[in-house]
């Protein structure tokens, strides 16, 4: 059919270019991972070799386990990410439903107000956010982070979800109303299940920036008990700069959870992006 677009030389060149870039993308991750399993001497002598029986060592991981509280950090990151996502999705979906379903005065204005935050980064308000968290005693608690990430995620969530909620059929909702369901039941029982794919997209978009954020944990919750994994590895690596085994192992341990999440959610993520949710 479109033979003009197929040409063996071109195909090879395309694969060549893509393979080259894939190598560039993966090389640093690969180097960190393989060297984290090697002895100090092997790290320096043959940085590009795979760990062999001779050079295999877990000394770095042992140091990390002994010195750093990585399980606590991991738990904190997990709590913050999951709780923030929960509130973003719940509050975002509720607001999106109000905006897309009901005609009321100020609807358009409210939509614009909520959309402001898509383009304006929340970091600009950091000074006042810190002041507020200090005043309310939330500083150095995970709640401070959860509140900030919820506020940060809401604008895009409302925007994307209301686009999708406009597509839910009116007949369905009206049928519910005739059956005497309350507006709340209609929302939770009929509409939410139908926009689940869009909610997954929103969740995946928010998950990675929350998990990886360094700025707010550093400013709002730097205490030992509330450190997130990102901040924890930053501090740990800063202290152990010269212990290469420990640094490489800490890096690998920080890479692993995100990589696992990515493998689980990558289809959702790619589907979300390519479905045009962000256009």
């Amino acid at each position: 059919m479109n033979k003009a677009r197929q040409n063996p030389f071109n195909t090879a060149a395309m694969h060549g270019a893509l393979i080259l870039y894939t190598l560039i993308a993966l090389f640093p991750v690969f180097v960190i991972l393989i060297n984290s399993f090697k002895t100090r001497r092997a790290i320096f002598r043959e940085p590009l070799a795979l760990p062999s029986a001779d050079s295999f060592s877990l000394i770095g991981y042992e140091t990390v386990m002994k010195q750093g509280d990585f399980f606590l950090y991991f738990q904190n990151s997990m709590i913050v990410t999951v709780a923030s996502l929960f509130f973003v999705l719940l509050f975002g979906a509720m607001a999106a439903y109000a905006l897309s379903e009901y005609q009321f005065r100020g609807n358009l204005l409210m939509g614009l107000y909520l959309a402001l935050g898509i383009m304006i980064p929340i970091r600009i308000g950091t000074v006042a956010i810190l002041e507020m968290m200090v005043a309310t005693g939330l500083v150095n608690t995970l709640w401070a982070l959860i509140l900030v990430y919820t506020a940060q995620g809401l604008p895009l969530a409302v925007f994307i979800l209301s686009e999708f909620m406009r597509q839910v059929s009116d007949d369905l909702k009206n049928a519910g109303r005739i059956d005497g369901l309350s507006e709340y039941t209609i929302f939770f029982r009929l509409v939410l299940p139908l926009v689940r794919p869009a909610m997954a997209t929103v969740a995946v978009f928010n998950m990675i920036p929350i998990w990886n954020d360094l700025w707010f944990p550093l400013i709002l919750a730097p205490a030992e008990e509330t450190k997130t994994l990102t901040l924890g590895s930053q501090v740990f690596i800063g202290q152990f700069v010269t212990d290469w085994n420990a640094v490489l192992s800490a890096l690998s341990m920080a890479i692993l959870p995100v990589l696992v999440l990515y493998v689980i959610f990558s289809r959702q993520l790619i589907r979300g992006i390519t479905s045009g949710a962000v256009k």
Binding site: V148, T150, E183, N212, A254
Partner: protein
């Protein structure tokens, strides 16, 4: 039905989102801008009008740092626009080729750096480029270019560009994905019509696809702009709050952090920090307005 009664469920649906968003985002934003107009004298807050901004822009001690950070930030942005976005578009163009095998595999692999945290990326590259470990020099040696090696992150003239390129490496997946999505929406008929007229291969890309994805390129540009002008994490992770060597990698985010929290001998100053935040806000606002009113409205959108 004379007048619509207040429908409580609308209030209930809107309230949580509006409350959290207003209290944690919008209110602090304006409060920060307000704080920029104050200063602290003898532990009391005193209104000083625009004096902080005057200090920031014209006082030699502050202005030198400010303009340095701003200039660096523009250079940082420029590298992203000139390197990240063209590479992203090129990768997307290759990936969207019909019947390309392993496309999903390439796509997932190239996106991996984007999901890593700045801490990982910053330290990983710091190690790789480190002259002590020697991965970068020995790889350059292997292709006979060892003389080109320099401790890039430690040299004033290269450090910022190196960090910008590391950031490009990390984020190239985003323009790639967005452009890829845009390319997929181009109907096959248009490309076939072009083929009949003899427009194939590269010229099909330049003459048909590129004009159709211009709106997406506009979105990517403004996302890059906003992202770069509140960047902080990578520089902090790789070079610390002092953005060394000798502030050569200082950008507005690190400058604001240092001013706000203080470092070594300098005490933190929330009011000057707010003034810098105000300047960042103004820059981002100008950028977004140029995009919304200058670019987006003039861009021709084709009905597909």
């Amino acid at each position: 039905m004379n007048r619509p009664r207040l429908r409580w469920h609308i209030v209930v649906f809107l309230a949580p989102a509006v409350l959290v968003y207003t209290a944690v985002m919008i209110f602090p934003l304006f409060n920060t801008l307000r704080l920029a107009l104050y200063t602290e004298i003898d532990q009391t807050r005193v209104f000083v009008g625009l004096q902080n901004f005057q200090t920031l822009f014209f006082d030699p001690i502050w202005s030198e740092q400010f303009w340095n950070a701003l200039g660096n930030n523009f250079w940082f942005f420029l590298i992203h626009m000139l390197v990240q976005n063209p590479i992203g578009i090129a990768l997307a163009a290759l990936l969207s080729h019909p019947r390309l095998r392993f496309a999903a595999l390439y796509r997932s692999a190239i996106f991996i750096p984007t999901i890593l945290s700045f801490v990982i990326v910053g330290f990983a590259w710091k190690l790789i480029l480190s002259p002590i470990w020697g991965i970068a020099p020995s790889m350059l040696d292997a292709i006979g270019l060892k003389s080109l090696f320099a401790p890039w992150l430690g040299k004033e003239e290269y450090a910022l560009t190196t960090l910008a390129l590391i950031s490009v490496w990390q984020f190239v997946g985003i323009p790639m994905m967005l452009i890829y999505a845009a390319l997929l929406t181009i109907p096959e008929e248009i490309l076939e019509a072009g083929e009949i007229d003899g427009i194939t291969g590269a010229s099909a890309f330049w003459k048909i696809k590129l004009p159709l994805i211009l709106p997406s390129i506009g979105i990517i540009s403004i996302l890059t702009f906003v992202g770069n002008f509140n960047a902080f994490d990578l520089i902090y992770a790789a070079q610390g709050a002092l953005a060394g060597p000798d502030f050569s990698t200082d950008i507005l985010g690190t400058f604001m952090y240092r001013t706000f929290f203080g470092f070594q001998l300098q005490l933190g100053d929330p009011h000057m920090g707010s003034a810098i935040a105000g300047a960042m806000f103004a820059i981002i606002l100008v950028g977004v307005c140029i995009y919304l009113f200058g670019i987006q409205t003039r861009m021709r959108r084709y009905q597909l």
